[in-house]
């Protein structure tokens, strides 16, 4: 690195050190400490916090979190692809309209949007009254405070993160490839399957990583829509720091969590690079 580029990078490096590296190091350090009955940190080395993670309670929540995140990612993918694809078939004006429509929710406070789901889903809520009115059900359904409600809230929250990268990759795709495949005898469906899907894999991957990682870290949705029953690992972590005042254990959970996120991102990247690096490099 020469002097000049260091000068440009220095603020970034400082920023990252202050807000990422130093806190992370602090968390790692604290995760190997203990605490006394009052919640104060006791400065003696121990691996107890990591051992505690393997108790069935926490392992269970950990796997639930992973599973919920996988489901959220899959549902987002299944809903976003057709939507993004539909958008690319529209005229420039309609496309702009949809793009704005998809980003509008970002302008409204996230908590307000999530609370709005309560109004829809609760026992006397809009959805239940509607279903009872048309006579599909006689008793209100318990929708709020279920895993399903959490999943719904998650998918709703993160769908833009999936639509946008897929849309971009569809837009960037060389449309002449579809003419070539049609020329070689492929029907529209087979062109889609053999050309469009692989060519937009990087968009799907980017979206999936974004959605997966942010879902695992998102405890508010589970809090509001899932109630006490559906806890995510981030709820536990938050609770260790704010409620239970067990900073060392909270730190240990955080470390495990960050590591598993990194591993998953690494796996995604690897899958992306091994099978489709060629399509990416050819564009560059």
């Amino acid at each position: 690195m020469n002097k000049r580029s260091f000068g440009v990078l220095a603020p970034v490096v400082l920023w990252l050190s202050f807000f990422m590296v130093i806190p992370m190091l602090a968390v790692i350090f604290v995760s190997f400490m203990q605490r006394d009955n009052l919640g104060n940190i006791v400065w003696t080395f121990s691996l107890d916090n990591y051992a505690r993670f393997f108790e069935p309670l926490y392992l269970g929540i950990y796997w639930d979190t992973i599973w919920l995140s996988v489901l959220t990612t899959v549902f987002c993918l299944l809903l976003s692809y057709p939507l993004a694809y539909y958008m690319t078939t529209l005229g420039p004006k309609a496309q702009k309209f949809w793009l704005i429509g998809i980003t509008v929710p970002f302008w409204i406070n996230f908590l307000i949007r999530t609370y709005a789901w309560i109004i829809l889903l609760r026992t006397q809520g809009v959805v239940n009254s509607l279903l009872m009115d048309i006579g599909l059900i006689s008793e209100p359904l318990q929708m709020l405070y279920t895993q399903g409600a959490v999943l719904l809230g998650m998918v709703y929250t993160f769908i833009p993160y999936m639509v946008l990268p897929i849309y971009v990759s569809l837009e960037q795709m060389d449309k002449r490839l579809l003419e070539a495949s049609s020329d070689l005898g492929a029907s529209r469906w087979r062109s889609f399957w053999h050309i469009t899907l692989p060519q937009t894999k990087s968009g799907m991957m980017t979206g999936s990583v974004l959605v997966f990682v942010t879902t695992t870290g998102m405890f508010v949705v589970a809090d509001i829509l899932g109630g006490a029953k559906s806890q995510m690992i981030s709820n536990i972590i938050q609770n260790q720091f704010l409620g239970a005042r067990d900073w060392p254990f909270g730190s240990a959970l955080s470390v495990i969590f960050v590591i598993s996120s990194l591993v998953i991102i690494g796996l995604f990247n690897r899958a992306l690079r091994s099978s489709y690096d060629s399509s990416k490099e050819a564009k560059a």
Binding site: R176, E179, A180, S182, D183, L184, A186, S187, S278
Partner: protein, 334 residues
Amino acid sequence: MTLSTDNGKGLMLMIRLENVEKHFAGQPVVHPLSLTIDEGEFLTLLGPSGCGKTTILRMIAGFEQPTTGIIRLDGEDVTQLPPNKRNLNLVFQHYALFPHMTVEQNIQFGLKMKKVPAKEQRERIDEAIRLTQLTALAKRYPHQLSGGQQQRVAIARAIANKPKVLLLDEPLGALDLQLRKNLQAELKQLQRSLGITFVYVTHDQEEAMMMSDRIVIMNTGKVEQIGSPRDVYERPETLFAATFIGENNIFHEERLFTVRPEKVRVTPELADTRKTGIIQDIVYLGNVHKLVIHLENEPTSVTSVLDFTDQRDWSIGQKVGVHWNLQDEVTVGR
């Protein structure tokens, strides 16, 4: 008009365009065009940029619908058929290779789509790879290939399907001169050995001359002339054809006629010649040299090409006589 595919010369008709016309947004891009192409023929569409060559090719391939007119392929009316139902292949100007597939997989794609049995797929891939000399590159991805190699893959991918017709849209346009020359010869060779009908698009007149059986000279969506390279060179029918192919001297007298520079003789003697003039420029081109002569009492210059047998000394400003034979005058329309 019969639907017979025999053109009367014993050759089979492969493509027939009947009054094919194309408008974009109400603007005519291809004026009504009728054209027949024989089986195994190498036909070239030649014309300046924007004259509608690609549009014609895309109509034959099925990517554009003619505004009016009928396209027949091997006797069958294919005007309404989508590209994937037509038994021909297009080699795109920019190759359009699939970036996520290896050379081999690119070539295999069309065979897979047509559900060719696996064993035959293998044979056809190998043959296409051999013919295009891609053996060493079969496992590479397109971005790992040079422009010329990519161009070969595009051709291999097309010929593996054994199409009745191969359409090529300026396939050599992006390549440098040397490579172009090599590939021109290779392509011509390939076409002869496969016996496939080639419809070739270029705006390079030299390329058209050396490769084609017949040339269609186009200008702003209209056909100017159709003929063998010799025909269009020696007997141009229009002013555009006369000047687009090779160099030409144009004379507006009581009629419009042209004389090729190599038919123009220059003599130091001034008596008994058609015209006299003053040498304006001398250009040495190695095997030939060229004199540009400004005619006396006329606002035109005449170019004369002299070959190596001409050992006389010419100098700029020299007054010379200019002469040609009557049979070398070619009357052209406007």
